[in-house]
């Protein structure tokens, strides 16, 4: 053989550049209807094997549904591609979804719920055939009782907001049972509590009183003093609030409400930084709720199925959604004889797969592990805050200590460059990360909310902060470039105008075909 030719690149391979040269999968995948071809099938169906039933007209479907017709591989491949065009915690540094506690969902827990011993259980089976799953429900309740300090826990709600609603329903039933249902028609919440507290209270018929933050960023206790009274049904409050600031006077808030005959309900969606540090019962709360898909690691699943847990003090136990799960020392059973119960929140007992996952997660950590979770979540947050606040144009209003998350502001950057927080976030997606701004209305201008849970490493946090710093730099040097993002994503910048126009919007493919292709 002759001499080796000139190479175009040499060993050793150079170090990687400071920022990842990311590009999201771009399969340019058609809409599934465009992949259809008549006569193809993805799966077979058993034949009846018994005489057919002739349906009368008026009951019978006249035209077959225009569903796609595809073979199995092609259905699978289409969805594999779409999955690759989605970034989950498994792939990204998911610290940008503040208030949502995006953490690692251990893979082993998914195995438990895929097991036929969970997946193939019917919820109306006889109790002695489901002792294992009832034991998991019962033990998880005991654990959450200890974590909240409250007397009972209901695992029925399908999400955090559903749990808030269940709490409101119990509050309403409690006051009604005392003949004060009509009189107590107001619920008090705070501006930086999750808006579902206000929304659920309104659905349940309450007038909502919101406490604004005072000059220090805490909910104004004097305003609470002015607001409580004989019409107060409950205080529904998050702490630490969505700003990450812990309200040190929380016990006084609870006392004020109790003094007026109201109940105090603790939204513990932000519990990740205080597990084993302080508990709902310690501050005097009568009710609380946890999100199993946040604090207790069950996966977010593109927006559910999730699960919520409601903790209640003794006086609210009679009103809990039914049935409750009991243990007599030998066997687990359902108590359906609960005359004062608010009834059902959802079908059967709850989102069982997530109850199983949360139980397994706590069993993998124990008391010491949960404390490490809390401490590390808080450490990670303070470390990331330290890095983010070094970026010119970023700030964290109120200069207060933060626990597990921070609501930051790009206001200074926006005033200098005209680039909005949303646009910074979209450009950051070109580097494989995401962030969320804030609930509306924006009290913190040009907001972004970061919550780095215990799952992320120091290197992850460094990388995330470096991406934000880079994009902020770009906003100063090339604002138009940032505004035109994304460039390395599955799709390019979307023009959303048509989505608000009834003549143009298309909520389904059939609507799109009717409005735009016919």
């Amino acid at each position: 053989m002759g001499a080796v030719g000139e190479s175009f690149a040499k060993l050793p391979i150079e170090a990687k550049p400071p920022l990842r040269r990311f590009h999201q999968a771009r399969w340019d995948e058609p809409i599934i209807f465009e992949l259809s071809s008549p006569g193809r099938r993805g799966i077979g169906v058993p034949e009846a094997g018994v005489p057919a039933v002739e349906l009368p007209a008026g009951i019978r479907r006249e035209t077959p549904p225009a569903l796609p017709q595809m073979s199995q591989l092609h259905v699978l491949r289409h969805y594999m591609r779409l999955s690759q065009e989605t970034i989950g915690v498994d792939l990204g540094i998911a610290v940008g979804q503040g208030t949502c506690t995006m953490k690692y969902s251990p893979k082993i827990n998914d195995r438990f719920v895929a097991d036929a011993k969970i997946a193939e259980l019917h919820p109306a089976q006889p109790e002695d055939s489901v002792q294992g799953v009832l034991a998991i429900y019962w033990h998880l309740e005991q654990m959450l009782k200890e974590i909240s300090g409250l007397n009972r826990v209901c695992l029925q709600p399908g999400s955090g907001s559903a749990a808030i609603y269940a709490n409101i329903a119990m509050i309403r039933a409690y006051h009604a049972s005392r003949g004060e249902g009509e009189q107590r028609d107001q619920v008090i919440t705070t501006m930086f509590s999750h808006p579902s507290n206000a929304a659920c209270a309104k659905v349940a018929g309450y007038e909502v009183i919101t406490l604004m933050p005072d000059a220090d960023g805490y909910p104004d206790i004097e305003a609470l003093r002015a607001a409580v009274g004989p019409r107060t049904a409950a205080l529904m409050i998050t702490n630490p609030e969505d700003t990450g600031i812990y309200n040190p006077r929380i016990a006084e808030f609870v006392e004020l409400v109790h003094g007026a005959g109201g109940l105090a309900c603790y939204d513990q969606a932000n519990a990740n930084g205080i597990l084993g540090i302080t508990r709902a019962a310690d501050a005097g709360f009568d009710l609380c709720h946890f999100n199993l898909h946040k604090t207790f690691s069950t996966p977010h699943a593109c927006g559910g199925p999730a699960a919520g847990a409601c903790g209640v003090a003794e006086k609210l136990v009679p009103f809990m959604p039914g049935p409750t799960i009991e243990f007599d020392g030998e066997r687990y059973f359902l108590d359906t004889d609960r005359p004062q119960s608010v009834g059902k929140i959802r079908p059967y007992l709850g989102v069982t797969p997530n109850v199983v996952r949360a139980y397994a997660w706590i069993m993998a950590l124990g008391a010491e592990g949960l404390r490490q979770v809390a401490e590390t979540a808080v450490l990670n947050n303070n470390y990331l805050m330290h890095k983010v606040l070094q970026i010119p144009g970023a700030s964290a209003p109120w200069n207060k200590d933060r626990l597990e998350q921070v609501r930051y502001s790009w206001q200074a950057l926006y005033e200098d460059t005209g680039v909005h927080s949303e646009e910074i976030g979209v450009r950051a997606s070109d580097f494989g990360v995401h962030y969320w701004t804030s609930h509306h209305p924006y009290l913190v201008p040009e907001p972004f909310t970061l919550e780095p849970t215990e799952s992320y490493s120091k290197e992850d946090l460094d990388e995330y902060a470096a991406i934000l710093a880079h994009v902020a730099d770009e906003a100063r040097s090339e604002p138009e470039f940032v505004k035109g993002a994304p460039y390395n994503q599955t799709v390019h910048k979307i023009d959303p105008t048509c989505l608000d126009d009834p003549e143009q919007w298309a909520t389904t493919w059939r609507a799109y075909v009717r409005k735009h292709l016919s």
Partner: protein
């Protein structure tokens, strides 16, 4: 050992990070929490499993105490159904990208948006309706929300609800519709269908289920739609989409809002963990405005030929007529929507028709065979049934207990003498024959 789930619990990393921040210890971060509120002891929790292997053993020990429906012959339905789940459904919904994603922008989570748009689009074909929401929690919630939508749309506060509805669902409706919406029941005839009733101009909606609690397919839906519409009320119908390969979509019979649960479309029973709800309407802006849920739509991007997605009618709440009883939006059951989309794509129109025909035929076969058993009478036998039917026996508890000895979960007791039996494509003729034999044996 540094816990495998907590990378920065490693002491040297901790120290480095604390030093970078410039604080002494993690305790400093908790300075805002008053001492009186601090828990000054470790949580009293069970000792943790020291390794994944031990966790697996522990969990296997618990799970072994369950007997699942593949180990017995189960005819349990009642809102949670044992349909075959295609392997591709499980494959797609266990993909880490989908399973662990939140709900980012339609850029980094484009695939999720497209998959959900396709789900609502396939549901739209099945339902023959143009607007379908991203899933809510379950069928109970879907009905509750659909009825509140009808109340907001009409500005009225009374709904007429079929009595052929499960007790748990009715309990949920009573709780969820209070205090704004009053529920009045519609009686059921001997045939298991809604009896004659009147509608006046205070009624927001008439609510039917088809198939209903007893598996009965309502035959007068179109007539009832006219009755409701004549008084300005809406017709809301709950339908299991798995029946719509053979049954007429409620919209074609005049329903204004259609809702229900999609657990049948590719979700396991999972002890009640496979539920998700859908709500569908026609494309009328005033009706669309009343959806509390998210709606996804197609939008163009800067590059020709690219499909982008986004939220339709983003500001819709500000266009709605009334503020009372506005509902919340939150994490609900998106992954089950994606899965149901996979299911419908696999089945196609022919699969849905064949499945429906198989279920209709086997349901009727089981009814006829059981009707021939002494001591058993099949209720509403003349009506068309899909997947479920009720039988009258002397003592449901005694029958169920006796049948368990035969490895059969024969159904759900609706009361002391009424049993609800469920038959799907998973129950072959042999399985039905085995049930009938066993019933004959224990009744005799």
């Amino acid at each position: 050992m540094t816990h495998p789930y907590i990378p920065n619990a490693e002491p040297a990393v901790r120290a480095e990070m604390l030093a970078a921040i410039g604080v002494e210890s993690i305790e400093d971060f908790y300075a805002a929490i008053p001492a009186a509120l601090r828990l000054n002891r470790p949580l009293d929790l069970p000792a943790p499993m020291a390794s994944e292997h031990e966790l697996v053993r522990h969990m296997r020990g618990l799970l072994a105490r369950n007997t699942d429906t593949t180990e017995v012959l189960s005819f349990l339905g009642g809102g949670c159904y044992p349909h075959h789940v295609p392997a591709v459904c499980d494959e797609v919904n266990s993909r880490g990208e989908f399973l662990t994603a939140y709900a980012g922008e339609p850029y980094e989570d484009h695939g999720r948006f497209q998959a959900l748009f396709e789900y609502v689009s396939m549901m739209g074909e099945l339902l023959e309706m143009d607007v379908v929401n991203v899933p809510t929690y379950d069928g109970f919630q879907a009905t509750g929300t659909a009825l509140r939508m009808a109340a907001r749309y009409t500005g009225r506060s009374k709904v007429l609800v079929t009595a052929a509805i499960g007790a748990d669902k009715l309990s949920k409706l009573h709780d969820f519709l209070a205090p704004d919406v009053e529920i009045v029941m519609i009686a059921i005839t001997e045939t298991g269908e809604a009896a004659e009733f009147t509608v006046d101009d205070t009624v927001a909606a008439v609510y039917l289920e088809s198939p209903n609690l007893y598996g009965v397919v309502e035959s007068r839906t179109a007539e009832i739609a006219e009755l409701a519409h004549a008084q300005g009320a809406l017709l809301v119908v709950s339908a299991d989409p798995i029946s719509l390969g053979v049954l007429a979509p409620p919209a074609t019979l005049g329903a204004d809002i259609v809702c229900g649960d999609i657990q049948s479309l590719g979700m396991h029973q999972s002890y009640g963990g496979g539920h998700a709800g859908y709500i569908a309407t026609r494309d009328e802006p005033r009706l669309v405005a009343e959806f509390p849920s998210r709606l996804f739509g197609i939008a163009p991007t800067a590059v020709p030929g690219e499909y982008g997605f986004g939220d339709v009618f983003y500001d819709r709440t500000s266009f709605a007529l009334r503020e009372e009883g506005k509902e919340w939006v939150g994490t609900a059951a998106s992954l089950w929507g994606i899965t149901a989309g996979v299911y419908l794509a696999l089945m196609g129109p022919e699969g849905m028709r064949e499945l429906g025909e198989t279920i209709l035929a086997r349901t009727r076969y089981a009814m006829d065979e059981l009707a021939a058993v002494p001591g058993v009478s099949v209720k509403h036998a003349q009506a068309v049934h899909f997947r479920e039917f009720a039988i009258e026996v002397a003592d449901t508890d005694a029958l169920l207990t006796a049948l368990r000895e035969h490895g059969i979960y024969a159904g759900i007791a609706l009361d002391a003498t009424t049993l609800l039996v469920c038959v799907t494509e998973r129950h072959g003729k042999d399985d039905i024959d085995a049930l009938v034999r066993a019933v004959r044996e224990v009744q005799g």
